[in-house]
């Protein structure tokens, strides 16, 4: 027994030594924030890539929440131990972009490595978010989502509404919500990610600006403009509906999700990434439809914008490491990988080819509703107001908006006062970011 272990140990040592002597695969650290099914997929993608060739080895490392992952990468960079690839949520985009010298833009990475790379292969509604105004891609889109409406068909039946006809406009939504309340449903509808859905996407969907300079995509000098009459009216309507719980605010980010799955809320506006959880957890028939709009707003509905995260490459690595990262990005963008990612996680496919392949496979017919998100994003070519947004300190600005909306929904402030305050405090943060990064 002992001799076997000894022999095994010896063999291992010899293997390691000879391995170092020969070409050891170059290890590439990939820090991410994906949990559950998504985390498993991340590991599988890395595993499959590692098996597909022997030169490079991608090592995925789970680093906690989005904010924690980003903070960890920044701290590691300061300590000179940055990972090769880090997944950064969309609101961190401006911070990463401003860190010139700390990151390596993807378009440059691909060109340096001589890797075939066509930015036009990516869905513009997604890649636009992570590109310069000139269309140069800075980070590789990874998991992208957009908000949609989920409705509870059983609750609609109970309230005497047509379960196959979800409300299309905001007036219809409020009316349906009132009927749901009258039928004894505790909450007509709720919204997850209140700033992302009710302010950012609401604005893009109605083709009105969130801020100046193409929502900040044009430069760091942008100011917020969310205290415009259309948004103010919308928030006032939500605050009024809050009084009889036809709209019920149930938290800033994902907290409201449980309220829909439990059947307490008849409708929820939430990310398409929530689809899997509803399918698995809901004990009622449900449907997915496009976000509602105000029919009197010109140009509505326009297109919705994304959320999610992209992959950033850190600066200061060796050329052969960059070569490996470029190869991995090509693999990641391949149709087969993207199609599987889209179908298993619910996140959007990032390339046109993957979208077409999914369509051809009949996936959308088998899973009605999954196509809504992509149609909603690509239905119309994006305008200056709907291409995306890029603001420094956006993490805090979102919290400020949520704080002020909480004030409006609880009746402490009027919608106008709440949004004025959000603009004032948000702009102060934008100027602070500008000052700190220049």
């Amino acid at each position: 027994m002992r001799s076997t272990i000894l022999a095994a140990a010896l063999a291992a040592i010899v293997a390691t030594l000879s391995g170092t002597a020969a070409a050891d695969p170059i290890e590439l650290q990939w820090w991410h924030a994906m949990t559950a099914v998504n985390g498993e997929r991340v590991n599988k993608i890395a595993e499959d890539f590692n098996k597909s060739q022997s030169e490079y080895k991608v090592l995925p490392v789970f680093k906690g929440s989005y904010a924690e992952t980003m903070t960890a990468a920044i701290a590691a960079y300061r300590a000179g131990k940055a990972p090769d690839i880090v997944q950064v949520f969309e609101v961190g985009t401006a911070t990463m972009m401003a860190a010139k010298g700390a990151v390596k833009p993807v378009y440059q990475l691909m060109a340096d490595a001589g890797e075939k790379f066509d930015p036009a292969a990516y869905l513009p509604a997604i890649s636009g978010y992570y590109s310069t105004p000139e269309g140069k891609m800075l980070s590789l889109p990874f998991n992208s989502s957009t908000p949609v409406v989920y409705w509870n068909k059983d609750a609609f039946k109970k309230a005497g509404l047509d379960p196959e006809k979800p409300p299309k406009t905001w007036p219809e939504t409020f009316e349906a919500a009132k009927k749901l309340r009258a039928a004894g449903i505790p909450c007509g509808f709720t919204s997850a990610w209140v700033s992302w859905v009710q302010i950012e996407n609401f604005s893009a969907w109605h083709n009105i600006p969130i801020g100046t300079l193409q929502n900040g995509l044009g430069g760091p000098g942008a100011v917020l403009e969310i205290n415009n009459p259309t948004v103010v009216r919308h928030i006032a309507n939500l605050a009024a509906a809050q009084k009889d719980k036809s709209f019920d605010y149930r938290g800033r980010t994902t907290e409201p999700e449980g309220s829909f799955i439990s059947g307490e809320c008849g409708m929820i506006q939430n990310s398409i990434g929530f689809y899997g959880a509803v399918k698995k957890g809901a004990k009622f028939a449900f449907g997915v439809t496009e976000l509602p709009y105000y029919p009197d707003v010109k140009g509505a509905p326009q297109n919705s914008i994304i959320g999610g995260a992209s992959l950033w490459v850190m600066a200061g690595k060796k050329p052969e490491e960059y070569k490996g990262i470029a190869k991995f990005f090509t693999y990641l963008s391949s149709t087969a990988v993207q199609e599987k990612w889209h179908e298993e996680t619910g996140y959007l496919p990032i390339t046109k080819a993957a979208y077409e392949a999914t369509k051809a496979s009949g996936f959308y017919d088998k899973n009605p509703g999954t196509e809504v998100a992509i149609e909603q994003m690509t239905g119309k070519p994006p305008t200056e107001n709907s291409r995306g947004l890029r603001f420094g300190n956006l993490v805090q600005i979102r919290d400020i908006i949520a704080e002020d909306l909480e004030g409006a929904f609880s009746g402490k402030a009027t919608a106008q006062a709440a949004l004025d305050d959000a603009v004032k405090r948000g702009n102060a943060l934008l100027r602070q970011f500008q000052k700190n990064t220049q």
């Binding site: 904010a67 924690e68 903070t71 920044i74 960079y77 300061r78 911070t95 401003a98 860190a99 010139k100 010298g101 700390a102 505790p186 809050q242 019920d248 605010y249 149930r250 938290g251 800033r252 907290e255 409201p256 999700e257 449980g258 309220s259 439990s262 307490e264 300190n393 993490v395 805090q396 949520a402 704080e403 002020d404 909480e406 004030g407 929904f409 609880s410 402490k412 405090r425 602070q432 000052k435 700190n436 990064t437 220049q438």
Partner: protein
């Protein structure tokens, strides 16, 4: 003749003091010094552009009404937590002190919450009271209470105070119980023979003799409410609704870790450090004078 232990030379005491000094230097003075230095700097998160900003970070804080508002919130929160953790702790200790049969069981059960980390305590209370999934939240709604601490500021404050205090009751209970058991029974027996009621015995003998313990616990509880309650706030309200439960230490974390504004965050932690040093000094100077050490 006074007899005293005297060390020959300074080497032996220096060696004995060294470990403690090293720990204090490495884990307190060094980071505190770094924070003080960082508070004078401004720059991006990556440290690519850093420049000396003088007192700019502090000036920004003083001009921020939300930061000033956080002081009031912190004062109310800390005081409430201290009172709500001390009073039940004392009451339970007095009760447990009288128990003859099964005393160990009572003590063990009462001590258990102390073994729970603040973050876990926060999660437990959040699960009970979350408007979407909480069992007790559903029960409250059924009896007609409009329970939604995500929108209702007083409800949110009440919840975080209860969660933070609940955990600390055990700690206070333990110290009060030890304090009670250190009181010579002869004193109490003597007053009982003189005809003092249990109530009178408590207020004239037990309570004054507990003063050193109470004072110690007051300091510890205030410090606990200032710093260790971060986990509770983070897991229950994240400082909301609005900024109704954003206490100072939560804001330090938020601006530093989420906001990546290291200079501003460091400036806040310097201010926080000054407050706690000041508070402790005041407590020692003015309250300790009235404490009678037996």
């Amino acid at each position: 003749m006074e007899r005293r232990v005297v060390f020959g030379g300074w080497v032996c005491p220096a060696i004995l003091l060294l470990p403690q000094m090293a720990v204090t230097l490495v884990f307190f003075f060094w980071p505190a010094g770094q924070a003080a230095f960082q508070s004078l700097l401004r720059g991006d998160a990556f440290g690519l552009t850093t420049h000396f900003a003088g007192i700019e970070n502090f000036a920004d804080l003083v001009a921020d009404p939300n930061y000033l508002g956080s002081f009031g919130i912190t004062a109310f929160f800390s005081l409430s937590v201290a009172v709500l953790a001390l009073a039940p702790g004392l009451l339970l200790a007095v009760m447990a002190d009288r128990v003859v049969r099964g005393a160990a069981v009572y003590k063990t059960v009462l001590l258990m919450p102390y073994a729970i980390a603040p973050a876990i305590a926060g999660v437990l209370w959040m699960f009970l009271f979350n408007p979407g999934i909480g069992v007790l939240a559903a029960a409250l709604r059924r009896i007609g209470v409009d329970w939604n601490y995500l929108l209702d500021a007083p409800q949110a404050m009440l919840l975080v105070i209860l969660a933070a205090a609940w955990k600390q009751v055990s700690y206070n209970f333990l110290f009060f119980l030890a304090g009670l058991q250190a009181i010579p029974p002869s004193l109490i027996e003597a007053s009982a023979i003189d005809g003092a009621t249990p109530r009178r015995r408590f207020w004239t003998i037990v309570f004054p003799l507990l003063a050193p313990t109470s004072f110690f616990l007051l300091v510890v509880n205030i410090v606990y409410a200032f710093f260790d309650t971060f986990g509770v706030i983070h897991n229950v309200t994240q400082g909301g609704p609005g900024q109704a439960t954003e206490i100072l230490v939560y804001k330090v974390w938020y601006d530093g870790v989420v906001g990546l504004d290291l200079g501003g965050s460091a400036a806040q932690s310097v201010i926080l450090m000054a407050i706690v040093i000041g508070l402790t000094a005041v407590q020692f100077r003015f309250i300790e004078r009235r404490v009678h050490y037996a």
